[in-house]
């Protein structure tokens, strides 16, 4: 099965590329760091590990690289960019099987060329 395209490097514009809620859902599902730009112009980069849109004031929660947790209201978010490496991308089972097969071929080659 081919891997789904990674969102790594995506910098969606709210409205044009999706609603803020949709972009937050993508960010919650993303296994890399994101950069959140607040409406006051400040930025926070880190791992978005939670969001709750069912509460009266929907919010996201992030860990920054020092391990500090931050809560930001949806209402304060201007944009989200997928700036960190997607840790779930490019590690397919198929790739591992191919590496194993290549190793087996290489070992077989070494054996057949060794002196008897």
């Amino acid at each position: 099965m081919p891997e789904a395209a990674s969102l790594e490097g995506w910098a969606p514009a709210v409205g044009r590329d999706g609603s803020l809620e949709e972009i937050i859902e993508h960010a919650f599902d993303y296994r890399g760091d994101v950069t959140v730009e607040r409406r006051d112009g400040s930025r926070l980069t880190g791992y978005l590990y939670n969001r709750d849109r069912r509460v009266p004031e929907p919010f996201i929660q992030m860990f920054d690289p020092t391990g500090a947790s931050h809560t930001i209201r949806y209402a304060d978010i201007a944009a989200i960019a997928f700036t960190g490496k997607d840790t779930a991308a490019g590690k397919s089972y198929e790739a591992w099987k191919e590496r194993r097969a290549a190793q087996a071929r290489s070992e077989a080659g070494a054996e057949s060329s060794s002196p008897r």
């Binding site: 890399g32 791992y47 590990y49 860990f63």
Partner: protein
């Protein structure tokens, strides 16, 4: 069944106590993940794909104990990540054992022998090493994407048994599993001397690299029937016989997503150990604000339709055992006769 009587009694009295209190929803086992870091990168695992700064972090022992106290379960399973990489695993286990919690330390066993030699753990009826074994050497090394792990795990199991520890195995089965090889595997584990085995079909984590080999429900029933039909009496399973019958298609259960709640760095995972749809900051919040009616087969949720994993259905099987005369009779017959 290989669960010791004292543990069976602790679980039975806990479940009956919950029923007498009229609690419709109660947890049975806490899935406590102190860290996500692991020394393997198995193809079927969707638990470890995080940025380095997240993988470096872990819960404190105090956070772990507070979670255990808050949900009040009699049993704690410590998966991960690899819990033997947790720097405070020795203290965490000691504290849980002191609280008379039955602990299943789920490990790939790569570090187990070393930790035993360091004297990190003491044998106790409350502590079991639950060693990840997905089959015989060839199948296991394939599943964990590294050769040699099976042999390391077998050596560590022997060492743990020699030192008087309780040892069980846990196996996740995927499509393509050969039932005859699994029957040989059961024989091999019994020959090794493990107390019991746990088996479960895998769940298709959205982030797991291997998406092709997860079992669909019908194929799962066929596999488990082929594997467990005419089960040998010497095979001991460290899980409810009704859950095994469910895997074989002989029991029709609904999921209990709150039965084995998961707590990790992000909080209390909604709704269950497998689906990651958000986090609650407390167990109470998890129980009171999760829309439980949106999960399980009856809900129609497509993510739940093919799931038959132990964390959703073993709690149902245990509840059924102590919640109805028929359940108690079925479990007693299976336990006494060894027939599933």
């Amino acid at each position: 069944m290989s669960v010791p009587l004292s543990q069976m009694w602790a679980v039975a009295s806990y479940v009956i106590g919950q029923k007498l209190r009229g609690r419709k929803r109660y947890p049975l086992v806490l899935m406590l993940e102190p860290l996500f870091r692991c020394n393997l990168a198995c193809a079927g695992c969707g638990k470890i794909q995080y940025p380095a700064h997240v993988l470096k972090r872990h819960l404190t022992v105090e956070q772990c104990l507070a979670a255990v106290e808050e949900c009040g379960v009699p049993m704690v399973s410590i998966p991960g990540g690899e819990p033997l990489m947790y720097p405070e695993i020795g203290r965490l286990v000691r504290e849980l054992v002191a609280r008379k919690k039955y602990v299943y330390l789920c490990t790939n066993a790569i570090l187990l022998k070393q930790k035993l030699e360091e004297g990190l753990f003491q044998p106790s009826r409350y502590l079991s090493f639950s060693v990840h074994m997905d089959g015989l050497r060839e199948e296991h090394d394939e599943a964990v994407c590294r050769e040699g792990v099976y042999d390391d795990a077998v050596e560590a199991i022997r060492e743990a048994l020699r030192r008087g520890f309780r040892v069980t195995t846990n196996s996740t089965l995927f499509d393509g599993t050969d039932p005859h090889r699994m029957r040989k595997f059961f024989d091999t584990m019994m020959d090794l001397g493990v107390e019991g085995m746990m088996i479960s079909p895998g769940y298709s984590y959205a982030k797991a690299p291997d998406q092709e080999h997860f079992l669909r429900r019908r194929r799962a029933h066929e596999l488990f029937q082929a594997m467990l039909g005419n089960a040998k009496r010497r095979w001991k399973f460290n899980q409810s016989p009704l859950f095994l019958q469910f895997l074989m298609g002989k029991q029709d259960f609904e999921c209990t997503p709150w039965g084995m709640p998961a707590y990790n760095l992000f909080g209390w995972q909604r709704p269950c150990y497998l689906l990651q749809e958000g986090y609650a900051s407390s167990f109470r919040e998890l129980m009171e604000t999760t829309p439980w009616e949106e999960y399980g087969r009856k809900s129609g949720n497509p993510k739940c339709q093919d799931c038959m994993v132990h964390c959703g259905y073993e709690a149902t099987a245990v509840d059924h055992t102590f919640g109805s005369l028929r359940g108690l009779r079925d479990a007693a017959v299976a336990t006494l006769t060894g027939r599933l």
